[in-house]
Structures are given as C-alpha cells and as structure tokens.
C-alpha cells in the first residue's frame, strides 16, 4: 500500500490532459475523496474516472479475469470517444502483480524506495516484465537508507536493460520522465 | 379432508355506472369469508375461525373498466393448525378492466405455530388499470414461531408479467429464518403499486430493512421486514410516502346496486 500509484496517476493526468483525451479506471478501494484528489490534481472530470470492484482479489481483476476492467474501459470509450489514453490503476501492491496483455497495451510498475533497496533484486513479474519500472519517492531514499545505485543496478540486471525511471513527485510534481515515456509509447502502435 | 373443513367461494363484480359511480353487481360470500360493504370499501369479515386445516377459500374480484374497488378486512387472518395438519388455502383471483383500479389493503395474515397455510394471489390488469396490493405476514403469535406459510403473488399487466413473488416461510422452508431471507424478523410484508400514469420512481432505501424497488415492467414494490406487525406497517407506510405512491391510486365511490344480494353466512364456528 502507498507506493504512490494514485499520486502518479494524478501527475500523469495533470501533465497529459492538456492535449490528450484521458480517462482512468481504478481497481483500488476508491472513495469520493480519491475522485476529488484526481479531480483537483488534474483536469479530470468525475465522468472520466471509473472504479472497478475487485472482490478483494485485485490481481485477479487485472490478470486472470479482466472482464470488469474491459467493460469499464469500453464503457469509457463509448461515452467519451475518442479517447487517446486510458490509465488502469491496479489495486494493492505486490511484486507478483501483473496486468494481462488482454487488458493493457503498456504496463508501468511502481516501486516505493521506502520498501527497501533490495526489492528490485527480488524481481517478480512486475519488476521484470513491466514495460516501465518506476522507482518512486526517491526523495525519501536518504531517510530510509535506500541505495539508489543498488536499485538501479539490480533493476537493470533483472530487466535486461528495460527502462527504469527514478521519480520524486515532491521534486517534480509533473513526473516529467514518466510523462515523456508515456508520450513516446503513444506514438508506437499497440502490441 | 378434515371433518368440517370449509370449501368456500366468494365473488365480487364491480362495474362503472353511467354516473361515474362504481356499483357492486355481485357480492357473494360464504363462511369462513364474509364480505360487507361500508364506508366506501368492501370489508372482508371472518365469519368463522381460521382458516383451519383443509379450508379452501377462493375469492374472485372482477373490477370492470373504469371501476374502482377497495378491499379491506376487519381483523387479521389467523391461520391455525397443528403440526402435520392439512393445508389451508386462500386464493384471490382479481381482474381489473381498462383504467379500473383495485386497492387490496387487508390486515395481516398471522401464521400461528403449527399452521400450514398458502395464500395465492393472481392479479390481471388490463391496459391502464391501477393496483395497490398490500400483503403482510406475521410470523407466529407472541412468543411462538410460525407454522408453514407460503405466500405467492402473480401480477400481470396487459398480458406481461410485472411481478412473480413467492415467500416460503416456516418449518420446511430452507434458510427462511437466515440472513438471506427474514433474518429472524417477526413480520415481513410488501405493497405493490402499479400505476401506468405515475412517472417511474428510483429505488430508495429506508434503512436496511425497507426499500422501494421500481419493477422492471413498471410499478414499484415496497418491501420491508420488521420485528412485529405495527413496525412493519409503519415501514410500509413510510415506503409508500418515499415512493411517492401513497396517493397514486385513490379510492373511488362504491355503491350497492339495489338488486345486490349478499349471501355472507352467519358465524359458523365461533
């Protein structure tokens, strides 16, 4: 919990909503406060945010049984067409979480440095298989004695050179590096 | 069949007169069910104890086009019996003609310990016909659980199903006391209101034990469970207000035709 997914989603919305038609599907336990957070943080109307209940099985909802998420995405596309980008936020944080390729075109995995600098070495399908690994809250690294160089080295080894972004929304509220990566992906055909 | 068990048929035929007043052209009843007309309503009067095991009572209500009938009862229907006794049954068949209206507002049915009772209602509404139908079930007298009770209602409007509901309560009905069905409530009930002229309502929860439920084919069901009969009535009445259906179907004036005969029997078993 608390790796900063919702804050990162909000940052992406803030950076991208100016020129892209966006919508968000969240699989996290979701309150009107969360919706308000996204609304205030970016320029996302409430109608552009849909919550999916996962029956306490957040991984199932994004990986094994994606029907509810597909329906949510299709519903948004139907109501708000044309959409340039739909962000699907998973519920729960766990190294074994992955998105089904039947649901998403690109997957970003978010790690929190406060979880410890050994996490990238542990691997798991999220760290190894995601299209982008975001190591978040790097401003906290000194406080939690996390060695970012170790994290970078292990992540690179685990990911076979796949992209890794170190991110601090405190220092860069617009999440510039992640935003750039997302924009670059939009130019590439899905698959 | 139990010696003394009653087979009775009662009938009401109501027609709209040229003066705009509903007249009862037929009003026929026999024990244990009597029908009396007073104060703008038809009253069901228990002319014998019961229903007792083996009693079979059929009431046919025929409301003609444009006519309006309200049926009430003077007291609760108390289904009696001992464990293992034969089933008693009350069947009400009602047909309401085009733009007619029927309000069925009897007192509750009390399922006493050991009873084995089945209440059946089949309501057929023609185009534009309106209905208010209340059904309240009290599960046992004070300090006792109920006997076996089935309550079934089928409402059709213009040939299509509006509501088909069957409650199976008491011994032999799996899980009836459990948290999916009554949760140990002492009384359960519903009011179904069907009024084609009324705009659709939205579902409203009046606490966890009462809600107004708009039906798929039009009309609304107010459903409630409660510790006892008086709280149940209070919740159903509140549901009627919340569903804005309290005044949805007004009772019209009812007058006896001069030739009307009432063969309601005298009390036979009291």
């Amino acid at each position: 919990m608390g790796s900063g997914k919702t804050a990162l989603v909000a940052a992406l919305c803030r950076s991208l909503a100016g020129d892209l038609a966006l919508a968000v599907v969240t699989n996290d336990i979701y309150t009107t406060e969360d919706a308000d957070f996204l609304r205030q943080a970016g320029v996302l109307a409430g109608e552009r945010i849909v919550a999916v209940e996962t029956g306490c099985c957040p991984h199932t909802a994004i990986r094994d049984d994606i029907g509810a998420n597909l329906e949510a995405v299709e519903g948004l596309e139907e109501r708000l067409a044309p959409l340039d980008l739909v962000l699907v936020e998973s519920g729960g944080d766990n190294l074994t979480a992955t998105f089904s390729r039947g649901l998403v075109d690109r997957q970003i995995f978010v790690l929190d440095v406060a979880g410890g600098d050994k996490v990238p070495r542990k691997g798991g399908p999220g760290v190894t298989g995601a299209d982008l690994l975001v190591v978040n809250k790097v401003d906290l690294a000194p406080a939690v004695r996390a060695d970012l160089a170790v994290m970078a080295r292990d992540a690179a080894a685990r990911r076979g050179g796949g992209p890794v972004v170190f991110c601090s929304l405190t220092d860069d509220p617009a999440a510039g590096a992640v935003t750039s990566w997302v924009r670059a992906q939009l130019a590439v055909p899905p698959g | 069949m139990r010696a003394g068990a009653l087979r009775a048929g009662a009938a009401v035929v109501a027609r709209l007169g040229p003066d705009g007043v509903t007249r009862l052209e037929v009003l026929r009843s026999s024990p244990p069910l009597g029908l009396r007309q007073a104060a703008g309503s038809l009253w069901m009067v228990g002319t014998a104890a019961g229903p007792l095991p083996g009693d079979r009572v059929t009431l046919r209500i025929d409301v003609g086009a444009g006519a309006a009938v309200t049926v009430r009862s003077t007291a609760a229907t108390v289904a009696l019996g001992r464990s293992g006794s034969a089933r008693s049954e009350l069947l009400v068949e009602a047909a309401v003609g085009a733009h007619g209206q029927l309000r069925w507002l009897p007192e509750p049915t009390v399922a006493t310990a050991g009873c084995h009772h089945r209440g059946l209602a089949r309501v057929s509404l023609a185009a534009g016909a309106r209905l208010v139908w209340r059904d309240e079930l009290v599960l046992g007298r004070h300090g006792e659980g109920p006997g076996r009770l089935t309550s079934r209602i089928d409402v059709e409007s213009d040939g299509s199903a509006v509501l088909r509901q069957e409650l199976r309560l008491g011994p032999g009905a799996p899980g009836w006391e459990g948290p999916a069905v009554t949760g140990g409530a002492g009384a359960v009930g519903m009011v179904v209101v069907f009024d084609p002229g009324h705009p659709p309502t939205t579902a409203t929860c009046l606490g966890p034990e009462c809600a107004t439920l708009p039906l798929a084919a039009g009309g609304v069901l107010i459903s409630a469970v409660a510790p006892g009969a008086s709280e149940l009535r209070r919740r159903l009445d509140a549901g009627m207000v919340a569903g804005e259906v309290a005044g949805g179907v007004e009772g019209g004036p009812v007058r006896h035709s001069p030739e009307l005969s009432d063969h309601g029997g005298e009390p036979a078993r009291r």
């Binding site: 209940e53 | 069957e166 948290p179 999916a180 966890p208 039906l215 798929a216 084919a217 459903s223």
Partner: protein, 227 residues
C-alpha cells in the same frame, strides 16, 4: 451420463466470467452483522439456494432447453420472466453485469449462432442465469447441467466471498459446502424438471434480505465487491 468437461469449465470459479468480484449479497449481510460466523453463513447459503438459486437454476435450465432446440429463441420472454422474479433494481443490474461478463468469455469459448443471437438480444444485456443457460447449450450441455452449475454457483460464489471478507477457515467452508451438496443437487433437479414448461410457470423464490441488502449495498461509497 458422466460429468462433462465443458460443464466443469463453466462451473469453475476461475473461469474468467467476473464471478470473483460478486459476493452474492454476503458483503451487505456481513456489514449489517447478519453474517458473522460459519453457522450464519450456512443459513445464508441455504436461504439463498432455496430462493435465488432455484430461480436462477430454473431459468438456466429452461434457456438451455430452448436454445438447444430449433426455432427462434424467445430471449425476451425469458428475460421478462427473470425480471418479474427480481424486484430489486440493483440485483437486476448485477445479474446483467455478470451476464455480460459471461457472454464475453462464452462467445470466445463456444462461438456460434446461439451466443451471437444473445449478444444482439438487448442493449443493457441479459441476466446471468439466461446467459448461463445459453452458454451451456452452446457448449453442448443439457438443461440439467445448466441447472446444476447455477445451483452450485448460488452457494460457491458467496462462500468464497465470505472467506475473503471474514477470514473463515477455507477448509471449514469447503466442508460446509460439501454438507450442502445434496441440497444443491435437489435444487438443480427441481429446476431441471421445469425446463420444458412455460416460462410463466418457472419457480419463484423471494429472498427478502438479499433484495433489501442489495439496494443498501449499491448505495455505499466504498465496496469491495460489485454486488
């Protein structure tokens, strides 16, 4: 006839038809303090099976029977009879959500005219019980199979939700489901017997607190389960 693999697939909780996100009313019952221990859960499941479970099983069996035969499929009549038996708008909506999810995977698993026609049947979708019967027919199963799957799911889904919500010992819950197996079979058999009859005569069974609880649940700000 022996067990059919397609029936096992359709009945499997891991079949990706969205079932994991629905508690069958357990989440609302837990929140109201009506289900707190295993005895409560068993009473809940018995009541659910005898009411909603019987109705769903009968609708599934009848749909399967009709879809397996020749001629135009009267989806509209079956849907109207399903709706007349479900006064709760929240439960009618949830049945359609689950129906759409099942139809999505069913069309991939058993492509053909039965499920294609059903997909065109209505804009807001078709209740799960009817879709289940159609999937069973498309998979070459019989009405009795459709009824058995529906009756099984009427208790298995809520039981699994209760394990997740209340931390019950899953072995104890499995044992409780095993105890209910004869009841599930009986309901399935009763439902299957109605399959050849008229839709108006399909069984009814009201689960008052499921209906009231579903409306309450639909109004919550935060839900873990969709229904």
């Amino acid at each position: 006839m022996s067990l059919r693999a397609a029936a096992l697939l359709l009945a499997d909780g891991r079949f990706p038809a969205g079932g994991h996100a629905h508690s069958g009313g357990v989440e609302a019952a837990v929140a109201r303090g009506r289900v707190g221990d295993l005895d409560d859960l068993v009473a809940f499941l018995r009541g659910r099976l005898a009411t909603a479970g019987l109705v769903d099983a009968a609708l599934a069996a009848t749909t399967c029977h009709r879809a397996g035969g020749a001629g135009v499929l009267p989806w509209g009549e079956l849907v109207a009879e399903a709706d007349a038996r479900q006064p709760s708008p929240a439960l009618r909506a949830s049945a359609r959500v689950q129906g759409r999810a099942l139809l999505r995977v069913g069309r991939r698993a058993w492509p053909g005219p039965i499920l294609d026609e059903l997909a065109c049947a209505g804009p807001d979708g078709t209740p799960h019980s009817v879709v289940l019967g159609a999937c069973a027919a498309a998979a070459g199963l019989r009405p009795g199979d459709a009824a058995a799957i529906a009756a099984h799911q009427a208790v298995a889904g809520p039981a699994s939700a209760a394990v997740r919500l209340l931390g019950f010992d899953p072995l104890a819950v499995a044992a409780a489901l095993a105890d209910l197996a004869d009841d599930v079979d009986r309901v399935a058999a009763d439902a299957a017997r109605t399959a050849g009859g008229s839709a108006a005569d399909l069984p009814c069974g009201s689960a008052l607190l499921l209906e009231l609880g579903a409306e309450d649940h639909a109004a919550w700000e935060v839900r873990l389960f969709a229904s």
